[in-house]
């Protein structure tokens, strides 16, 4: 039976890695702009469709698509921020939620119109190849998704710590007026933050296409999970989001085994979520505003 738990632990960590990249994008956007992007999962879905059609129509490998997606989705995020999100920055949360929720519905409807409501999946030669690790089977594609996600999270962290732009972004997150006072171009920072957040979530989607299906309705599930993770890790806290994501991945996966029914596997996650909201509203990790 221990093999089963090892398997659950490993697969939980793998999917947790993907959750991390989704959540990091969400938390970065929140940290800098104070906006919760409810359309986050829809950018994941568009990333998936991009990789799907690049592979089906032009034979581009999804992993190459992931590289190409970085500048492309950064540009998309930059533009969406400039056109749609900018007018509501600093406005009431209700307006922001309505806007991003509306964007989410619009993108789902658009995907249904353009790509049909059908579920589709990529059929790759290496799609289901695995290797053995101490009695558990590890899928290469899931491992690749995990490594890509962790690598990008680390790169983002280094970018935020070591570069001038990164420091400026953190300054915005900490203190808007202060950042403005020292001459940081807030509008540009917002666009960068949104662009980076969208690129992260789109690449998370692309990294999943070798083993997951694509459909217009795939997004909301991930938005919800990412939201839980971001609250667990502390809003705006990037290492917290990564740790929270791995915890959620493992709790879901092992929970499916220990709970009387896998239907209850999310119970552990949401219990943790409620407890954190009650007793540590600043998140499991780090203090407010860090």
């Amino acid at each position: 039976m221990s093999d089963v738990y090892l398997q659950a632990l490993i697969s939980g960590l793998m999917i947790g890695g993907v959750y991390a990249l989704v959540a990091v994008g969400l938390t970065l956007i929140f940290g800098v702009m104070d906006i919760i992007n409810f359309a986050h999962g829809e950018f994941l879905m568009f990333g998936m469709y991009g990789a799907f059609f690049a592979s089906v129509l032009f034979g581009i490998d999804p992993y190459l698509s992931a590289v190409l997606a970085l500048p492309l989705f950064f540009a998309i995020g930059w533009t969406v921020q400039g056109v749609l999100i900018r007018p509501v920055v600093g406005k009431s949360h209700a307006i922001q939620i309505l806007l991003t929720l509306g964007l989410s519905l619009l993108m789902q409807a658009l995907a249904q119109f353009l790509f049909s409501a059908d579920f589709q999946s990529l059929k790759l030669d290496y799609g289901s190849a695995t290797f053995d690790l101490g009695g558990a089977r590890v899928s290469y594609t899931r491992l690749a998704a995990f490594l890509i996600a962790m690598g990008l999270c680390a790169a983002l962290w280094v970018f935020l710590q070591r570069t001038d732009t990164g420091r400026a972004l953190r300054a915005c997150a900490e203190e808007h007026e202060g950042a403005l006072a020292v001459g940081i171009d807030l509008r540009r920072m917002y666009k960068i933050a949104f662009g980076l957040g969208i690129a992260c979530v789109a690449i998370a989607g692309i990294a999943m296409t070798p083993f997951f299906y694509v459909a217009p309705v795939v997004g909301p599930k991930f938005t919800l999970v990412a939201f839980v993770i971001v609250v667990l890790g502390g809003l705006g806290n990037i290492p917290g989001a990564v740790a929270g994501a791995l915890i959620v991945g493992v709790v879901e996966s092992v929970g499916a085994l220990v709970m009387p029914s896998p239907s209850l596997k999310d119970l552990g996650v949401y219990l943790l979520f409620i407890l954190v909201l009650l007793f540590r509203p600043q998140g499991l990790f780090g203090a407010k505003g860090s």
Partner: protein, 410 residues
């Protein structure tokens, strides 16, 4: 080709019209027989309702082309549509409207939730009601209705036939199955089907090692599949929608789980299952209502005419609505009357057997409750990317592959 056929049809109808005009109707000429078709023709389930209607349409066209109802002087059948909009209340008022318009019988209403109350109204108005597709046991069982005739199998028979199939096939393969694991999505469809599976497994002496439900649209099923691998049952009975069905099969391949998959229609009978999984869809079993390749003379021919007329393949629903219309024709011939009570009595005496019945069992007849007692499901296996009928043996078009070989040996 299409254009010429279309113009031929136009020319024919013009001729028919001219003939009709030239020969005014006399008192002795057979009157058209109105038949009520009660289906969701608008709303979210309309695509399925429209497909159900095609089976009736093809059958009526063939009946009329072959000279109508002979015992009624060659009277032609005419479809009168009642649109339920997928709504039970609308359905009930449509039954009243159809009854007022003088239909001899009503056929419908695809959804169990609409069929249940509309059969009640039909019973009160004493209108014979044929249910071709809706499966819920409660439509016929324990109601004592006299005017409801159900051609479709009972919902609980899906589970019964899955279990019978597992036992038949594994016994034939020389190693009778002893245990199963149930894996199903956790909404009403999954849980109610699983309840039936537990009951059927008990009845036929199969041990249920685990009854596992999972939340729909879950992103990762690895730990659940690993658990099933550990339990190592002789078969896995699934109730899944298409996306979960695809994910489960992929995960089973990843973890090297070589247990036969037996789906419950839904996701596993969806053509998208095959397009999503390609080669990996092969060898999956699913229970289904009907399949074009079943060993019934005439089934393939009717399916071909259906596809020519509507440009979509004939499915189980259409086969059931087609056959139900033939049941009505047979009863009208024997009744020799359009009186609803005489027609009801004739329906109760229905016996359509052998190749005259394209559904996957011998005779359509109706028991005391109005249920067709022989009705049963078929089990299909995907072989080279096509659903093939492999059970029951009398109508099978191919031999089942059981047990299934290891993934890396496929």
């Amino acid at each position: 080709m299409t254009i010429s056929r279309r113009s031929a049809v136009l020319a024919l109808s013009a001729l028919a019209l001219a003939a009709g005009l030239g020969e005014p109707r006399t008192a002795s000429a057979a009157e058209d027989i109105p038949v009520g078709i009660l289906l969701p023709l608008s709303g979210s389930v309309a695509p399925i309702g429209i497909n159900n209607r095609r089976g009736h349409e093809l059958a009526i066209e063939e009946i009329n082309a072959a000279g109508g109802i002979k015992s009624l002087g060659g009277a032609k059948l005419v479809m009168i549509d009642g649109d339920t909009q997928g709504n039970p209340n609308v359905g009930i008022s449509e039954v009243e409207k159809l009854a007022r318009r003088g239909v001899v019988a009503i056929m419908g209403a695809y959804q169990s939730g609409v069929t249940f109350p509309t059969t009640q109204m039909a019973e009160r108005l004493r209108v014979p009601y044929i249910d071709p597709v809706a499966v819920a046991d409660s439509i016929t069982e324990g109601r004592g209705f006299k005017y409801t005739f159900k051609v479709s199998p009972l919902a609980s028979w899906y589970a019964r036939d899955q279990v019978r199939f597992v036992l038949d096939t594994s016994t034939a393969a020389g190693k009778p199955a002893k245990s199963v694991v149930l894996l199903h999505e956790d909404t009403l469809f999954g849980t109610s089907t699983a309840e039936g599976q537990v009951k059927a497994a008990k009845e036929f002496g199969l041990e249920v090692l685990a009854d596992i439900s999972y939340p729909k649209d879950t992103p990762d099923m690895t730990s659940t599949i690993a658990q099933i691998k550990e339990l190592n049952p002789d078969a896995l009975l699934l109730v899944s929608y298409i996306n979960d069905a695809v994910l489960i099969t992929k995960t089973m391949k990843e973890l090297g789980v070589n247990i036969p998959i037996i789906g419950t229609s839904a996701g596993h009978i969806d053509p998208a299952y095959i397009t999503n999984l390609g080669k990996d869809a092969d060898l999956t079993f699913t229970v289904g209502e009907w399949n074009v390749d079943i060993e019934k003379a005439g089934a393939a021919e009717i399916a071909k005419r259906f596809e020519e007329k509507f440009s979509v393949p004939m499915n189980g629903h259409a086969a059931e609505t087609y056959m139900s219309t033939m049941v009505l024709r047979d009863a009208l011939e024997r009744a020799g009357s359009t009186d609803r009570d005489k027609l009801r009595d004739a329906l109760a005496e229905t016996k359509i057997c052998g190749d005259a019945n394209i559904l996957p069992y011998d005779c359509i007849r109706f028991g005391e409750s109005g249920q067709s007692p022989e009705a049963q499901l078929v089990v299909l296996q995907i072989i080279d990317g096509v659903h093939k009928t492999v059970w029951p043996a009398e109508v099978a078009a191919a031999q089942p592959t059981w047990p299934v070989p290891a993934w890396d040996a496929r």
